[in-house]
């Protein structure tokens, strides 16, 4: 039998707040964290908008020598994991060696580090390239560093699945516990995509939103949506076998019920119009979690605010939930924190956990004009108190990747 898995710790570093309590407060208040890009010269762009983490002081989390060597994305990951582990109260060093593992996802790895070193290679030659580039650029860097910092000797790798990365990582970590390969997993996703070259690449895809007021640029499911906005940050969760959590008297936020990944096997960039890929991930997660569609109260949607995604996702919700779809609450918190790429699935999983814990649903902000193709209850603009038995989080990525996760209310505390 797979072991039961619960969530005992959370950590967030996001455009709407640099820890769980401030991020949750802002999400529930419907405050946008989107603004004008400050990290690089954006004079080539008319609407340089993104969700940046504000007032980030990495030296509060990381010792100076290591800090100099690591990418901004890794800094976010370490900060969020520290918060989650402290929140969970796990004493990693007192656990059996190998009982605690780390599994984090990132879409792109050390983007800032790579651009800086590419400039050095071009201008000064290969002998000036940093000896730390390779070991700090790869997507698995943060999992290794978090394990070293905590002494976590268990299963350790990264998962990438484009924009579905964070969700895929959390699901894989949960399965590692369910099959008994670890008792505690520190998991999540992180990303710092705001470098000039990646921004140029996304801009060239003609998928970024434009708006005079940055805080109104991301408007998921609204008729006037016109693209997504990049965000940066990290989300971390401590997952634990129920038995282990209860044995140490841990506070439990929510149950992890089930998760799944899938692939559209269609186009390299665009999601399939009928939403079969994300529908498949949702169905698999429901089966894995032994949860019925009428037991899901809330979905934290991928909801990027592109014309295609929000329509496709809505179609998929209808196809999976059928007569239960009209009763669902669906919101996109990307309306406030933007699309955090490889971090998105993990940050949104943490938000789904918090909705189960607080029994409050954060809204979709900037929702003013209904779109006939998007006809569900998107919890427009104002948070809602609600009875949440189960919450789902969905993610859809480039390359046809999809993930879905389900969390359940914990009533045992």
């Amino acid at each position: 039998m797979p072991l039961e898995v619960v969530v005992t710790g959370l950590g967030l570093m996001t455009p709407v707040g640099n820890n769980v309590s401030s991020a949750w407060e802002n999400l529930v208040a419907g405050r946008s964290g989107i603004g004008t890009i400050s990290q690089f010269d954006t004079s080539a762009y008319e609407y340089p908008i993104a969700g940046e983490v504000k007032n980030f002081e990495p030296s509060n989390f990381i010792e100076p020598k290591l800090l100099r060597r690591i990418d901004r994305s890794t800094q976010f990951a370490i900060a969020a994991c520290q918060e989650a582990v402290a929140d969970a109260g796990v004493e990693v060093n007192s656990e059996r060696p190998g009982a605690v593992g780390v599994l984090l996802g990132t879409g792109m790895g050390g983007a800032h580090l790579m651009i800086e070193q590419q400039r050095i290679l071009d201008e000064k030659g290969p002998r000036r390239v940093s000896p730390f580039l390779i070991s700090h650029f790869l997507p698995d860097t943060a999992t290794g560093l978090v394990a070293i910092a905590l002494g976590a000797h268990g299963p350790n790798f990264a998962v990438t699945a484009a924009c579905a990365t964070g969700g895929a990582a959390v699901g894989e970590a949960a399965e590692t516990i369910a099959r008994g390969d670890a008792e505690v997993m520190i998991t999540g996703g992180f990303e710092a995509p705001l470098t000039p070259i990646y921004y140029a690449g996304f801009f060239a895809m003609k998928a970024l939103a434009t708006h005079e007021d940055p805080t109104q640029a991301v408007r998921p499911f609204d008729a006037d949506r016109n693209g997504f906005i990049l965000g940066e940050g990290a989300g971390a969760l401590v997952l634990e076998s129920l038995e282990h959590a209860q044995a140490r008297g841990a506070k439990i936020y929510a149950r992890y019920c089930g998760g799944a990944t899938s692939n559209d096997a269609g186009d390299m960039v665009a999601a399939a119009e009928d939403g079969h890929g994300i529908a498949e991930a949702m169905r698999r997660a429901l089966v894995r979690g032994e949860v019925r569609t009428d037991q899901i109260s809330y979905i934290n949607a991928h909801g990027t605010s592109t014309p295609l995604n929000d329509r496709v996702e809505t179609t998929a919700f209808h196809n999976v939930f059928r007569e239960d779809a009209d009763r669902l609450m669906v919101s996109s918190t990307k309306s406030m924190h933007g699309h955090m790429m490889g971090a998105a699935g993990a940050v949104e999983a943490a938000i789904a956990v918090l909705t189960c814990h607080h029994q409050v649903v954060p809204p979709t902000i900037n929702y003013t004009t209904p779109d006939p193709d998007c006809d569900l209850d998107y919890v427009p603009n104002v948070a809602r108190d609600a009875k949440i038995e189960h919450a789902m989080s969905t993610s859809v990525g480039l390359g046809g990747h999809n993930s879905a996760l389900i969390f359940g209310r914990w009533e045992g505390n």
Partner: protein, 415 residues
């Protein structure tokens, strides 16, 4: 609750510096051929290491039309060639059951050539000229994504990254996906195309590469030899078809070998150096053997990580001694990297295919270039060349930067 399904391998495909295709590669390995030569894929005149294992006659248009090939980085092209061969080998008809087939292909470094090319565009011509395909070509999950798009596999789909253990963890994750009933068949393995200017410069800067044998590439990759001075960067892909035994039997496919164990651990010690006495690698091997339900003495062959760096080979030897004790001296160990170099995330996939062939044919390839014994590496590395053996179980080790350790266990198939 149903029993945990047995998992078998029903097909394999590889693209390596010693051959395109499983049979070509396997025969070259048995013959002890060399795949290392001067770098031709990028400019290396000013880089300390100037040799690599390149797949020199790889023509992506054998598998892809020109337009599709242009929109895929080389690491994806290599994966497609390997996956096509593996699927043909297994006879699996993915489209007849798309939702039951998943794909997990690990890549350590992703589309680094694409990134370098676009950096050049960005610096020389400005941000307005950067390709809309930069992101979808560069991100490291695109091998798994594109193989699914090509084959129609709609089941579980991710990329696992654990540096040089990425391919092994992809196979491990696929194995576990089948065992928990989330799919009936998985296309899984590793790919990397890391012979690029930036990657060569960066690995050289980290002092991991062989630099003393630029004039004698044939003898540069010498795992476990006293004269080893670093690994030789290489490229390639290795993909296996894993499926439940029940599924393979139902469609009349021949199980080639059984996959019975997977262990994974972190050193949690240092970013690039192995932990003391190789204890992290030892834990991964023990975990894999425990999952397989076998004793160390049941193992008849170890396909080592064996990179040819002074540290890896010494510490891997220690870890084998820790796990196998007195029996360690009697177990043949060989390093495929002695002939093909270090293909990064592809290594675990390629070496799993090699381990599968070893069990099938009861033959193991040797470790090339092992002439000067190193007192720290005193086990049986099959330095004399290929050997016939009699064995039931074989393991494949993969150990990565960042302290990732993975071990896969395969068993000769018996119904």
């Amino acid at each position: 609750m149903m029993d945990v399904p047995r998992v078998v391998v029903t097909g394999a495909g590889v693209v390596t510096p010693v051959g395109i295709g499983l049979e070509a590669t396997w025969q070259a390995l048995l013959a002890g051929e060399n795949g290392i030569g001067p770098v031709t894929l990028c400019e290396v005149d000013d880089i300390a290491s100037q040799i690599a294992g390149e797949v020199s006659d790889f023509d992506p248009e054998r598998w892809l039309n020109r337009k599709d090939a242009r929109r895929m980085d080389r690491f994806v092209q290599l994966a497609i060639a390997a996956a096509d061969e593996a699927l043909e080998h297994s006879g699996l008809d993915v489209r007849s059951e798309s939702e039951q087939v998943g794909c997990i292909i690990g890549s350590g470094i992703g589309g680094i050539q694409t990134l370098e090319d676009q950096f050049k565009v960005f610096f020389d011509k400005g941000p307005g000229r950067v390709s809309p395909f930069l992101v979808p070509m560069f991100i490291s999950d695109m091998a798994a994504g594109q193989v699914s798009i090509r084959t129609g596999a709609q089941g579980p789909n991710v990329n696992t990254v654990s540096a040089c253990a990425s391919g092994a963890d992809a196979l491990g994750a696929a194995f576990e996906t089948l065992r928990r009933g989330d799919a009936l068949a998985m296309i899984a393995g590793g790919t990397d195309a890391g012979v690029t200017r930036m990657s060569m410069a960066a690995f050289a800067a980290s002092r991991a590469l062989s630099t003393g044998q630029n004039d004698d590439p044939e003898h540069a990759s010498r795992p476990f030899d006293a004269g080893r001075d670093g690994f030789v960067l290489a490229e390639g892909a290795g993909v296996l078809i894993l499926e439940t035994l029940e599924h393979a039997e139902a469609r009349g496919a021949e199980p080639l070998v059984e996959m019975v164990g997977y262990g994974q651990s972190a050193d949690a010690f240092h970013v690039t150096q192995p932990s003391e006495n190789g204890e992290g690698a030892a834990r991964a091997m023990r975990m894999a053997l425990a999952k397989a339900g076998i004793n160390a003495s049941d193992v008849g062959y170890i396909n080592a990580h064996g990179t040819s760096t002074p540290m890896n080979d010494k510490f891997e030897t220690m870890s084998v001694k820790t796990v196998f004790g007195q029996a360690a001296a009697a177990i043949p160990i060989s390093s495929t990297k002695s002939m093909i170099g270090h293909t990064l995330g592809a290594g675990g996939g390629i070496e799993a295919a090699v381990t599968m062939m070893s069990l099938r044919e009861q033959k193991i390839h040797g470790t090339r270039n092992l002439v000067l014994p190193d007192p720290d590496c005193d086990l049986d590395y099959v330095s004399e060349g290929a050997r016939e053996v009699s064995m039931e179980y074989a393991i494949s080790n993969s150990l990565g930067f960042g302290g990732h350790n993975s071990c896969l266990v395969f068993k000769r198939f018996t119904a």
